[in-house]
């Protein structure tokens, strides 16, 4: 039986980076375990954090007895990447049906907003 946290190494790295980027403050391994869905083992989180740290993607600072992690130069890179992003957006718009980008969501129609908002307002089943 696969555990609930079954995901590839790359997937977990992406989720941790996304979490650090969204948090906007240094995050401890305990925070990562609490925030990410699935019952992640502490060692799994630590291994992934160490690997990202070794790659230079994240940096760590001592916070009490544990390390806290944050993105290395994230804001700087994110600003530089915008130029390439604008180019890709232009290419995608001009390439007709060539589909340069696989966008997560396309444009909404007026009716969609109601449907989607309705879904989000439903209470999750316990």
């Amino acid at each position: 039986m696969a555990s609930r946290s079954a995901r590839s190494r790359g997937a977990l790295e992406r989720e941790i980076i996304a979490l650090l980027a969204a948090a906007g403050r240094p995050v401890t391994p305990a925070d990562v375990r609490a925030e990410l869905p699935g019952d992640l083992a502490y060692t799994t989180v630590m291994t992934t954090l160490s690997r990202l740290h070794a790659k230079g993607a994240i940096e760590r600072t001592q916070q009490g007895r544990a390390y806290a992690y944050s993105l290395t130069g994230g804001a700087e890179t994110a600003r530089v990447n915008v130029t390439a992003h604008q180019m890709l957006k232009l290419l995608d718009r001009d390439s007709d049906r060539a589909a340069v980008l696989a966008r997560f969501v396309g444009d909404l129609q007026p009716d969609d907003e109601a449907l989607l908002a309705d879904l989000l307002q439903q209470r999750p089943k316990p």
């Binding site: 993607a57 589909a99 340069v100 696989a102 997560f104």
Partner: protein, 315 residues
């Protein structure tokens, strides 16, 4: 016989388009997309072959062709089974299809090359994940030599952790299963044969459904997956969920919306489609029939010309 075959293939093209959405809705998308893409390409190629055979038989009757080829034009005219004009029209259609397909290849190649070049300027944080500063919440994958997943800080901030996982898993699935190849084959087929436009849009929907199902399998929660799609769509449209009025929500029950996003959310609210064998078997059968028809048409055209040659040789 050749005209009937060509007509049958054109009908199959239309039916493929009409059935496309149904196939995507009923089958697991990882079955539906390869099936539909293979069928679209087959139909486009086979229609081209059948119309080319008609064109060859028509042109073979005209001008200096009978003299050069040493065959009898009256024999061809008598046994071809269609007037020369119809064959000439077929040759115009084939020419237009080849031009359209060629133009599509040039445009796609140019777009892909440009994208690959732009994507090289993206610096990932680690692996393939690229973060950007952009006010409009954005998430997409760029396929290429090295695939990239691009997400804006604003998108990450708009979603809880579980739904961020949905977005990342969805985009990773696009790259892992090489979805862009299906899109390009579908676009090429529809460029060559506009009757396949419906199949092309069904394939586009199927690809998104495929990535959604892959994400739902990774997150182990269809509900969270549906909410992730919904919240990201509203955030990108500049409509945070909290601002959309309840009054509008009441209209949603009418089910007027038929966009890709709405369709995806609805599909995630239902159980995952399970594998079937009848529809895939039918699809493969239809594709095989198309190839048989194309082969028969080619054989028949060849036979007609040989017969017309033998008539000349006898004299």
């Amino acid at each position: 016989m050749i005209v009937l075959a060509a007509a049958a293939l054109l009908i199959v093209a239309g039916l493929t388009s009409l059935a496309g959405k149904l196939i995507v809705r009923r089958l697991p998308p990882n079955q539906a997309v390869p099936l539909l893409t293979g069928l679209a390409l087959t139909v486009a190629l086979c229609t081209g072959i059948a119309l080319s055979a008609m064109a060859v038989l028509a042109w073979a009757q005209l001008g200096p062709m009978p003299r050069l080829g040493h065959w009898s034009a009256p024999e061809l005219r008598e046994h071809a089974g269609f007037p020369v004009g119809v064959g000439l029209a077929a040759s115009v259609v084939v020419g237009a299809a080849l031009l359209a397909a060629g133009w599509r290849v040039v445009r796609s190649a140019r777009a892909l090359w440009g994208a690959a070049r732009a994507a090289r300027a993206l610096t990932p944080v680690a692996g393939d994940l690229v973060l950007i500063d952009e006010d409009v919440p954005t998430a997409y994958a760029v396929a290429g030599w090295q695939g990239r997943i691009v997400v804006s800080h604003s998108m990450l901030a708009a979603l809880p952790a579980g739904e961020r996982q949905v977005v990342l898993a969805h985009e990773a699935a696009h790259l892992r299963y090489r979805h862009h190849l299906y899109r390009h084959v579908a676009a090429l087929s529809a460029a060559a044969n506009p009757l396949l436009r419906g199949a092309e849009s069904a394939i586009a929907l199927g690809i998104e459904r495929w990535a959604d199902e892959a994400a739902a399998a990774e997150v182990h929660d269809r509900r969270v997956t549906a909410r992730g799609v919904a919240r990201a769509a509203l955030a990108q449209a500049g409509r945070p969920a909290a601002l959309v009025g309840l009054g509008m929500a009441a209209q949603a029950g009418l089910g007027m919306a038929d966009s890709i996003v709405a369709e995806r959310v609805r599909a995630l609210q239902r159980p995952a489609p399970t594998g079937r064998w009848l529809a895939p078997a039918l699809g493969v059968g239809v594709a095989a029939a198309c190839w048989l028809i194309a082969a028969a048409v080619t054989w028949r055209a060849n036979e007609l010309i040989q017969f017309a040659e033998s008539v000349v040789a006898r004299h």
